[in-house]
Amino acid sequence: MAESAASPLAAGRSGRRAVRSKREVAEKEEEETAALGRRSVELSRFYQGKIETVPKVPVRSLADFSLWYTPGVAAVSRTIEADRDQSFELTGRWNTIAIVTDGSRVLGLGDIGPEAALPVMEGKALLFKYLGGVDAVPVPIRVKSPDQFMATVEAIAPAFGGINLEDIASPKCFGILEELTQRLAVPVWHDDQLGTAAATVAGLLNALELTHRSIREVRTVLLGAGAANLVTARLLLTLGHDPRRLTLVDQRGILQAERSDVDELMLRNPWKYRLALQTNGGGRAGDLADAVREADVLLAASTPKPDTIRPEHIRAMAPGPIVFALANPVPEIWPDVARDSGAAIVATGRSDFPNQVNNSLVFPAVFRGVLDARARAIPDEIVLAAARELARGAAKKGLTPHHLLPTMEESDVFPEVAAAVGDAAVRLGIARRTLTHEEFLARATERMGRSARLVRALHRAHLTPPMPRGSPRPRSPR
């Protein structure tokens, strides 16, 4: 599946949309990516890690340790022993999550192992802190099987208020997420599934609104049947999309019940198997060209390769189609080509085009919300609450074909999303703590704003050394 949501920190690696030949574009992309890579290695060598633990209590003298540590702390332990949930009140557990990966599908790099996954997890932890005010601990683990993975996460869960699963290969990520959600009393999230799907659904809701379509009536094609799109399909069905008007297409063509690999899917990927039976009413067979005929919506989260979607595919769709080409860094079709072929609305995974479907819009706010509510899980209702609030946030600033989703700069939307998530947790009865909407909003605004202030303060105090000179600073996302 696609790395369908670029990190905002990786923004600017690509040139602006301009009249350039495809090869020029590709060469420029490669050059810029290589330059950023060199700089990233340089800076990693300089800073030697991106996060560190910082005390959050006053230490006036060593005597204070009789409070923060033994003997005083024993009474705190006794209190938690009597009621484990007190660990959310008396320790930092309420705001601390683990970023767990087995390193089996890291970015576009594949199975690179847990050590090599560490810099990526550190980057994610930095995003969690900076955008969500969440203390995230990178935990890449070396495990041999999904069972061992789950047992390890279960074993470390008492230290955390939530678990963020990261970069695990599909389809094993589905079973792991489902099973851990059952076993653990804290929220478990897998961004490649839920984050990307939530951002996609948010963008789609606004695209439908703009083109006066109802989710109950549209015909939708999902290109790519990896972690993100399988969850997007599930969420669309929950929102009332007619399963018969939904068609999935993967490398073997249209996913349909009589395809010869369906029995194998039953064994290896029951999530995809169920969709094979449920979707594609009328039994269309063939490839993308057969699938897109008369479709209103095309959501592509496949392999990053241009021309995966061709102009004739767009032209075969219903008038004024909605096209999301989310593969990164190279979308399945360039936005201007899609628009020239008749697409009414186009979204990509990139920050240098309008309508970036970016899971960074989602995961910091979702965790802010579930952590503030001390929630026990993240069911689909919460994912959808986040998607709806994100859509509303963009709409508040004016919905246009170029503004379907908030940009990363429109950060006032994030606390709103967090509050919507907190509200949903309370409504669903899975919150350990009940706050009002205003309280959730105030807490989220404070926690999310605090991180940016913290980063600035550390910088001003020279506790974070300034960046050493190097190549010019990456352009910021627009």
């Binding site: 019940a257 029995d263 039976l277």
Partner: protein
Amino acid sequence: MTASNETNPPVSPAPSESPSVPIHLRPARPADIPALVPLLLRLKRLNEEFDPLLKVRDDADEQAHAVLAANLADPKSVVLAAEGIGADRDKVVGVVRAVVRERPFYVPEHEGVILDIYLLPLYRRRGVGEYLLREVSTALKAKGAGVVTAEFPAQNEIASRFYAKRGFRPITSIHARSL
């Protein structure tokens, strides 16, 4: 080849009329063979997923034709064809293949062995497997079987659970290694 209709005892149509079961089951005829072969091969390819020693032969297609023809002519075999109902009437959507074997050392003296059960995914709704099992058991009993057994790959946990739920237990194991 009219013999096949005699060798396969008539299957009671009554349960297949039940609206909850989206198929209609009947004894297979030689004319069904072209439709049954792909279904049988889908099952064998599924078995291939469980063990490399169940790798499907290149000539499996021809073999399937020959085996089905032989089964239909053999009074000790049962071959049932499942058809869709409604719009899918006349479409063969499943196959059941079984045989009665003699047990020279044990009682009951005859064992009805279910060799293959395959249904296209869309027709695997609740109760269909149960219905197939009941019908093939009846047919095997009519041919003298006093016990019904099922053969499937040892790693196929879905089949294990299906049969265990319906009162089957393992009685013999077949263990293999390459030579």
